[in-house]
């Protein structure tokens, strides 16, 4: 089960601002997801090695070859703010 305080903490870590109603809603929704996971956890996994993926593929690599991105301007333009060649962000507040 998940309580409202945990939801608020997760929201803070993800830098999400939730209203009272949203906190209430997400506590309910996340709770039901966790219930479902709890159900999965009842499956007998004795002797089954843990895995981190669903497909058996390893070692996918690419050669170390330079390709210059053509849309640098597009990336800079897409940012909320820029200062010539830089992305511009609000002052970092040391809280």
């Amino acid at each position: 089960m998940i309580d409202r305080e945990q939801v608020k903490k997760v929201a803070f870590l993800a830098r999400l601002e939730l209203t009272e109603e949203e906190q209430e809603m997400f506590t309910r929704q996340l709770g039901s997801i966790l219930d479902y996971i709890a159900e999965l956890q009842r499956v007998e996994t004795e002797g089954v090695p843990p895995t981190t993926r669903a497909i058996e593929v390893n070692n996918v690599v690419r050669p170390d070859e330079l390709v210059v991105c053509e849309n640098r301007e597009g990336i800079l333009e897409n940012a909320p703010d820029r200062a010539e060649d830089f992305f511009k962000v609000p002052r970092i507040i040391e809280d």
Partner: protein
């Protein structure tokens, strides 16, 4: 100190290092952007490294290869649990475009390694390596509106470095002193440079250190509260930070204060560590497996192949130079510091030059020339072949050390064959006894006062006569023959008039020892005992002691 004084508790430092090594790949870890340092801000960026939706990272083969190479050289086990994976480390900071860093958490590329360090005056020591993992670098922040973070009005971000391939190498807490910490960092740099996996450029941040340090009563087994220190970008900063922090923590403990577990910053300007925020609430990075990247799983054949290809590493070279070649540990350390120098040295030795002579030549005049001209040894015109030819000319008695010394500047300037140069300029050594005897006779005839003084017991004057002979022959006389001749001539009439009083007109005590000091000893010979006949010997029997030798190259 009196025996009644209360015993003071001695403290020791317990130190672990985290080193970030930038891998020398052409492109970033997960995208095809350039890694070039110093480009216009935000030119090495693409949708992948700036975290645009819908993009897919793919691992750089070369980065993986370099990381496995480094891990192998550090005696690590490659993914001992059978595979290695990437994870997302989540935190918010404007230098991190995706709001997570792709790193490795519970299944790092390699674990359980060690490297060997050598600190002057201590036995070689193994420092354990806990783990080595791959991760991407963050971007660079420029704080505008003020030169300090606190006063800035906004920040500017350059993502050129974001996504560049790093290896993080974490040591065990096996380090006990500032000198050991520096030795560890230096050895690590040496190894990655030998392997060619990192350029080791400290100014450009290719190697960065974080330090974990705590103190405890010497010999204890419990750890004290550890403090992490960041922002160490040079060996010197690392060493100073250890010294400063050790003293600070010991003072703290002695005065009964509690040491706070925190992150501190090394401040280069004031040479102290300053507190950042204390780690009361530990960061919650919420690591989870990176779903966009598949695991790394090398088979045992591949891992063995890395081991086979490794080549000789600095520590192995040091052992071989001391053991098989009979060099001092100082010489071995200096020669193996850079792979290029070690290889140069080995080529000279392969051309039948005695190891000690080659070492002295490299650590002496060659090192001085490299220092002076800021060149690397592979760039200079005095190639290993030229060096070997020059040294062989001395060993064959064709030229004296003095002549070799005179030839060197020209050889550094223009290269060419020392043998041809010697023939062209008629610089061959005069070894003919008859010819030298005439010159010796002339010299002695013109210095009757000194001859008398010598025979009166001032045998140190031998060097003065040698100097005179050398001067007359423009340095071409074979010093050994001259020595012999002079000694026998001067001994011919042992009965002489009583010696004059000490203060009587004595010939100036020229520094004759330099007349034919071996090439490598040129610098210290100036201060050598005047008239010491030992200095005038074959180049292979160099007269210097390890101490004076070190001084000359300090």
């Amino acid at each position: 100190m009196t025996s009644t004084a209360p015993p003071t508790v001695q403290y020791e430092a317990v130190i672990g290092l985290e080193v970030h090594v930038q891998l020398s790949t052409e492109t970033k870890l997960f995208c095809r952007c350039s890694t070039r340092f110093g480009n216009t801000p935000n030119t090495n960026i693409c949708p992948i490294c700036t975290g645009q939706p819908g993009t897919l990272p793919v691992l750089n083969q070369q980065a993986l290869d370099y990381a496995v190479r480094a891990a192998t050289a550090l005696n690590c086990q490659i993914h001992p649990q059978g595979l290695s994976k990437f994870d997302r480390k989540q935190y918010f900071y404007p230098d991190l475009p995706k709001n997570y860093q792709i790193s490795q958490y519970d299944l790092p590329l390699a674990e359980h390694g060690w490297l060997e360090i050598e600190v002057e005056g201590e036995a070689a020591k193994r420092i354990g390596i806990t783990r080595l993992h791959m991760e991407e670098d963050a971007g660079k922040l420029v704080h505008a509106g003020a030169d300090r973070l606190s006063g800035s009005t906004h920040s500017l971000v350059d993502f050129n470095r974001a996504g560049v391939a790093l290896c993080e190498i974490v040591s065990e807490p096996d380090i006990r002193s500032a000198a050991q910490a520096a030795a560890y960092a230096e050895e690590l740099r040496r190894i990655v440079r030998y392997l060619g996996v990192c350029d080791g450029n400290m100014q450009e941040g290719s190697l960065r250190f974080d330090l974990n340090i705590s103190v405890r009563p010497a010999g204890g087994s419990k750890f004290g509260t550890k403090v992490e220190i960041k922002n160490l970008n040079s060996f010197n900063a690392l060493q100073r930070a250890v010294e400063y922090e050790f003293t600070r923590q010991v003072d703290c403990v002695r005065s009964g204060e509690r040491i706070v577990q925190e992150t501190r910053l090394w401040d280069e300007a004031t040479q102290r560590t300053i507190s950042m925020r204390s780690k009361e609430e530990a960061n919650d990075y919420r690591y989870f497996p990176e779903p966009d990247l598949v695991p790394i799983a090398l088979d045992s054949n591949q891992i063995d192949a890395y081991r086979q290809r490794l080549g000789e590493l600095p520590a192995q070279k040091r052992h071989r130079y001391c053991g098989t070649l009979g060099l001092s540990s100082y010489d071995a350390r200096v020669l193996t510091d850079e792979r290029e120098v070690a290889e140069y040295f080995e080529q000279v030795v392969a051309l039948d030059i005695p190891a000690k002579q080659a070492a002295n030549f490299l650590n002496g005049p060659v090192a001085a020339y490299l220092n002076e001209t800021r060149q690397s040894i592979s760039q200079i015109k005095v190639t290993p072949e030229v060096s070997a030819e020059l040294l062989a000319l001395i060993n064959q008695g064709i030229i004296s050390n003095r002549i070799a010394n005179e030839l060197l500047p020209g050889l550094f300037e223009a290269g060419g064959s020392p043998r041809a140069l010697v023939e062209e300029r008629g610089l061959t050594q005069i070894s003919d006894r008859g010819q030298l005897e005439e010159i010796v006779n002339e010299v002695l005839a013109g210095e009757s006062d000194s001859v008398a003084a010598y025979r009166g017991g001032r045998t140190k004057l031998l060097g003065f006569f040698v100097g005179k002979v050398m001067k007359k022959t423009a340095g071409r006389a074979d010093p050994q023959v001259v020595n012999d001749l002079l000694q026998s001539k001067l001994a011919e009439q042992p009965t002489a008039p009583p010696p004059e009083p000490e203060s009587a007109a004595e010939p100036p005590e020229a520094p004759p020892a330099v007349e034919d000091a071996p090439l490598e000893a040129a610098t210290e010979a100036v201060t050598a005992e005047a008239g010491s006949a030992e200095a005038i010997t074959a180049a292979s029997e160099e007269p210097d002691t390890p101490v004076s030798h070190q001084d000359a190259h300090a």
